[in-house]
């Protein structure tokens, strides 16, 4: 029972990492295009990253219990 759980959590964490990576990369590109909108882009980036991050932690806790 342990191994499928761990592999599943690993897959979720890979997905979360790719998601947050894409958000960060896109935010970088957006800031490069429009440096004057940096504040707004950062805010939106942090919110989106925080929402995705929650899923990753949920997966980690599924393994921990």
């Amino acid at each position: 029972m342990e191994i499928p759980k761990i592999v599943g959590a690993g897959l979720v964490v890979i997905g979360v990492g790719m998601g947050i990576g894409r958000i960060g990369g896109s935010a970088m590109e957006a800031i490069a295009r429009q440096p004057e909108a940096t504040g707004k882009i950062q805010t939106a980036m942090l919110i989106a990253a925080a929402l995705i991050e929650g899923i990753g932690f949920a997966a980690l806790f599924a393994v921990g219990d």
Partner: protein, 358 residues
């Protein structure tokens, strides 16, 4: 060209250290397993709330101070946690005997017997525990600290000198940032004022508590899911009770979509109102807990490697991680405040006419 040589020497030492530690592990496998379980139990112990404020251990004796234990067990029982002697003895109070089992108080007999069921849970009676535990103590300390900081700041404003003196000069830009970049854009010019006190309180509380968690005091207030649960419940209650009719209409009867879709959307939106504070709770708790576990595991590597290269690696990683955790401490406070402001904003938002055409 000195650089390649340095790299080569460094690589050699790293590989050498790896072999050395592998050999060491082979020779003393049993001992290193002991250390691993000890580190694990130490981390678990750190993540739990405790009844006394234990700073560190020196030659097997605990250095710290006791905190009051307040129990309701058919009458009030108040005594100091030093009576437990760190869980080693039975405390007696008004004819009842109490003992600690995994940092929880249970009623027991004079001998301190604990009976366990099949799942290793004690069957002893657990009295209602209102103790000033380590977490409660730290919350009180942070509350007093914040009262002092913001009290002196408001006094400084009242004296009419314009710029605040002392600690207020450091806090003023942060408060302005929360007002201008978190509250006003998310809640709107019209309604933001009545939410400012909550947003500021929750931001500074989470931030200061997280920063205390990084000190060697071993405080872990936001590692406790009960505390993040309470913070999330506050956000949920404020959102629900300040909600205007447009908010409820967007939940139960979403405008601008066909009628069958409205029926589908209503339960999803209703569930969403509970998921939002739930994710607030999990996010803060999990971020800080994960940070503490990783930090203590990296420091624990020092005791597993037991050579200078492993120790310096562990020290370096712990240093880098501490800087990251400083960022995370502020970031989690920011995210909590930001999302709370977002939810308040959706609660007080008024109906826009252009939205009706969507």
């Amino acid at each position: 060209m000195l650089k390649p040589y340095i790299t080569a020497i460094f690589t050699f030492f790293l590989v050498f250290a790896g072999f050395a530690s592998a050999e060491h592990n082979g020779a003393h496998a049993a001992e290193s397993k002991d250390i691993k379980t000890e580190i694990k139990s130490y981390i678990n112990h750190h993540l739990q709330d405790s009844h006394d404020f234990n700073l560190f251990e020196l030659n097997g004796s605990h250095v710290g101070f006791p905190l009051p234990v307040i129990l309701w067990d058919n009458g009030l029982h108040v005594f100091l946690s030093s009576a437990f002697h760190h869980g080693e003895t039975v405390a007696e109070s008004n004819g009842n005997y109490y003992t600690l089992f995994h940092n929880k108080v249970y009623r027991t007999d004079a001998a301190g017997a604990i009976t366990l069921d099949d799942h290793q849970h004690p069957t002893n009676v657990a009295p209602l525990d209102f103790s000033i535990t380590k977490n409660v103590f730290m919350i009180l300390v942070v509350a007093l600290l914040m009262l002092w900081m913001f009290g002196s700041m408001s006094r400084s404003y009242k004296s009419g000198k314009g710029l605040p003196q002392g600690v207020g000069r450091f806090l003023e830009p942060i408060i302005l940032y929360i007002r201008d970049d978190i509250a006003i854009p998310n809640i709107g010019e019209k309604h933001y004022k009545k939410f400012m006190s909550y947003l500021l309180t929750v931001f500074f509380f989470i931030w200061i508590v997280n920063l205390f968690g990084l000190t060697p005091l071993g405080v872990n207030v936001t590692n406790n899911i009960a505390i993040t649960f309470c913070l999330a419940i506050l956000t949920y209650l404020i959102t629900t009770f300040s909600a205007k009719k447009d908010y409820w209409m967007h939940i139960f009867w979403m405008p601008g979509v066909p009628a069958p879709m409205k029926l589908v959307l209503a339960p999803i939106e209703l569930l969403g109102t509970f998921i939002k504070p739930f994710s607030l709770m999990i996010r803060l708790y999990a971020n800080i807990t994960a940070g503490h576990i990783v930090m203590m595991s990296i420091i624990g590597l020092m005791f597993i490697f037991k050579n200078w290269i492993g120790s310096s690696l562990s020290f370096f990683l712990a240093f880098v991680l501490s800087i990251l955790e400083l960022l995370v401490a502020a970031l989690q406070a920011y995210v909590f405040t930001m999302l709370s402001a977002l939810y308040f904003g959706s609660a007080v938002e008024e109906h826009h006419h252009e939205e009706a055409h969507h």
